[in-house]
């Protein structure tokens, strides 16, 4: 049995959970390897472009590491199976793109309501509808935030490279266990299909699941710990709990009244928002003296860096704030940035979804411009530069 983890073929034969070493792989494959390294042993999905490389990698790798890959009959089933598997005690993930993401929305809500740890990847493509299946988009950002019905909080991370796709997938699993919540990885077609150097470390910790510390008698499955997250008793653990998408009390029993509902929904939101500083991740480039700040994420942030460099070459003090954690939105980070910068430019491959959040967070205190594209291609650095120059003009 060949066992050289540094070659791509190694994925075919190795039984290793962590393919430590340096690889040349695309963002989709890096997500798959990140998941397996993080201890994911269940993956259910339905084929869709540009997600297929994740599913194909999982289909090849999971049987090697005592995991289960199943290609479900649709994304509704994929998301439901992931939640079921999580209650079976394992780490579970699914991956899709826009149309499938839409189909998963109802069960993402079930995962929120039942506090089920799991990871959902959306490799965004041009949309709405079937849109541009093979071309890039970032138009699902608001769907990630609000796509399921009702008021809830969700965690969404956006990688800008294959290396970061690996790293954030590992972190996504840790966050999903920490908060007992679905965690979304909002990547895109370009990052998903881009081949780059990916270094997989020697050790990747497996985030523990918070288990009950009391015997089954008297255990209240939805009584939260001090950090508002309840311990999780899985199927077969002997706790014989009831889990429902209905509004429920601490016993997990349906509670059909307004007070119980308000209490539950507020806790589900607050368990995430209260601790958002733990995972508000971002990257700043040349922001120390920046008069104009470009705010972007995912593939658009990489192009934006080119625009910032063009501006610097022209003597414009521009900087880049690359958002890695998108949801909950880093209001405080943007507010502080707006105090320092004389203008903000938001670059994204949609017509202004995160722009609206930046506008809300800055409260109109600084000149704001959006550099948008509906999808199908990434921006050029020149378009970003034009945005920077425009915001400078309206400042003077």
């Amino acid at each position: 049995m060949a066992d050289n983890p540094t070659t791509r073929n190694a994925a075919r034969v190795t039984g290793r959970r962590i393919l430590s070493g340096v690889h040349f792989m695309n963002g989709d494959e890096a997500i798959a390897e990140g998941a397996i390294a993080a201890g994911c042993t269940f993956f259910a999905a339905y084929p869709i472009t540009p997600q297929s490389e994740i599913a194909e990698r999982m289909a090849r790798r999971l049987p090697q590491v005592e995991g289960v890959f199943i290609q479900m009959e649709d994304e509704l089933g994929a998301m439901a199976a992931v939640i079921g598997a999580a209650w079976g005690g394992v780490k579970a993930m699914t991956a899709t793109s826009g149309p499938g993401f839409s189909l998963m929305m109802e069960n993402i809500g079930l995962a929120v309501m039942t506090e089920t740890p799991c990871v959902v990847v959306d490799v965004q493509r041009g949309a709405p509808s079937t849109g541009l299946p093979t071309l890039v988009g970032q138009g699902d950002m608001m769907q990630a935030r609000w796509g399921s019905h009702g008021h809830y909080e969700i965690i969404a991370l956006s990688p800008a490279s294959p290396q970061e796709s690996f790293d954030l997938t590992v972190k996504a699993f840790a966050l999903s266990e920490r908060f007992r919540s679905p965690v979304l990885i909002m990547t895109d077609e370009v990052v998903g299909h881009m081949y780059e150097r990916v270094e997989i470390p020697e050790e990747v910790p497996i985030a523990p699941r918070r288990r009950p510390t009391v015997p089954p008698d008297g255990f209240l499955p939805y009584r939260p710990d001090e950090d508002l997250v309840p311990p999780m008793a899985c199927a077969g653990d002997g706790y014989r709990i009831h889990v429902t998408g209905l509004t429920h009390d601490e016993r997990g029993y349906p509670a059909m009244d307004a007070e119980a509902h308000d209490r539950l929904v507020r806790r589900l939101c607050e368990k995430i928002t209260r601790f958002r500083d733990e995972f508000t991740w971002y990257e700043e480039v040349m922001t120390d003296d920046a008069e104009v700040l470009v705010v972007s994420y995912g593939i658009s942030a990489r192009v934006s860096l080119g625009g910032v460099e063009l501006a610097r070459a022209k003597g414009i003090k521009a900087g880049l704030l690359r958002l890695i954690t998108i949801w909950p939105f880093p209001d405080e980070l943007i507010r502080r940035a707006a105090e320092r910068a004389g203008g903000i430019v938001v670059v994204e491959i949609n017509l202004g979804q995160i722009y609206r959040e930046v506008k809300r967070a800055t409260g109109g205190r600084v000149p704001l411009r959006g550099v948008f594209h509906a999808g199908g291609r990434i921006h050029t650095p020149e378009e970003v530069l034009a945005g920077i120059e425009e915001v400078l003009r309206c400042r003077s």
Partner: protein, 291 residues
């Protein structure tokens, strides 16, 4: 305007000093249940619980998954690991649960609308894959919880709130559908046949593979009332008169037509490798070790 607040519910009445033999399987603090008097769900529930009791299955090894609707509330009353999921998605949830923890006995308990309308695709694919779960479908011929709308098993001419002039769609023959999709154990009973149903559930729980039992049930509040089927007892008398017990019948010939005799019994009982057996076999072939 005074604010209307829900009144506290009275404590459930359990006969003092007497324990029902199935009480240990029930969340008695959730009683009384929400099902209408005359509904067949209670018989289906007790048949299932007696089956567990008689087989001596460790309750910690059983997980019940339900969808949405009257039958969907089943999961809420059993003192087992129980999951009340989204509409139509009980089977894929159960699939994930079973594959993640194969030692569990996973039972899906839901209704005809949940399993065969909104969840129909999952049903046929889980049957095709021979996922090792037992699916119990209480068929009351309409959507009871939402007020009695037409469903995929509503007979032709059946009156429901959304077929006020009588249903003209062709209904599913559930046992035929299950058998043709690949289910390895298929049976049909009515809530009149409580003991036979219990024995059938015991067979299904012991039988590896995708097991399906249709449980025909009265819905006196909705379907029964709108179609002048009388009280629940009248429907039971109807079952006594019209249900013909026969085993091994071709399920294609076992349609349920109002006013005509219909077949109950076991249609399919066969051995076929389950999804997990095939998966493990493949892994062993490739990597020479057991999963």
């Amino acid at each position: 305007m005074p604010v209307l607040r829900p009144q506290p519910k009275p404590e459930p009445e359990v006969v003092p000093g007497v324990r029902h033999p199935l009480e240990k399987y029930l969340r008695t603090d959730r009683l009384p249940h929400i099902w209408c008097s005359g509904c067949g769900l209670g018989i289906a529930l007790s048949s299932f619980l007696y089956a567990l009791e008689e087989l001596g299955i460790d309750p910690d090894s059983v997980a019940v998954v339900s969808g949405i609707g009257c039958a969907g509330r089943f999961a809420g009353y059993v003192r087992l690991d129980s999951y009340h999921t989204t509409h139509g998605r009980a089977i894929p949830f159960a699939t994930g649960l079973k594959l993640a923890k194969p030692e569990l006995n996973v039972v899906v308990f839901s209704g005809d609308g949940d399993l065969f309308a909104i969840g129909g695709n999952h049903f046929i694919h889980a049957a095709r894959r021979n996922i090792d779960i037992t699916v119990l479908c209480v068929n009351n011929f309409n959507y009871g919880m939402t007020g009695g709308q037409v469903g995929p098993t509503t007979p032709v001419d059946g009156r429901t709130t959304t077929t006020p002039y009588g249903n003209f769609e062709h209904p599913f023959n559930l046992v035929y559908l299950a058998a043709s999709a690949g289910a390895t154990y298929v049976a049909r009973w009515t809530t009149l046949h409580a003991r036979r149903l219990k024995e059938s559930i015991k067979e299904a729980l012991r039988h590896p593979g995708f097991n399906f039992i249709e449980i025909i049930s009265p819905c006196p509040t909705n379907f029964g009332r709108r179609n002048r089927l009388g009280e629940a007892l009248d429907e039971m008398r109807y079952y006594a008169e019209k249900a013909v017990i026969r085993h091994g019948v071709d399920p294609a010939e076992a349609e349920v037509v109002p006013g005509e005799e219909f077949i109950v019994g076991k249609f399919v009982d066969m051995e076929k490798p389950t999804y997990l057996e095939l998966y493990r076999r493949k892994v062993e072939e490739l990597f020479g070790r057991k999963r």
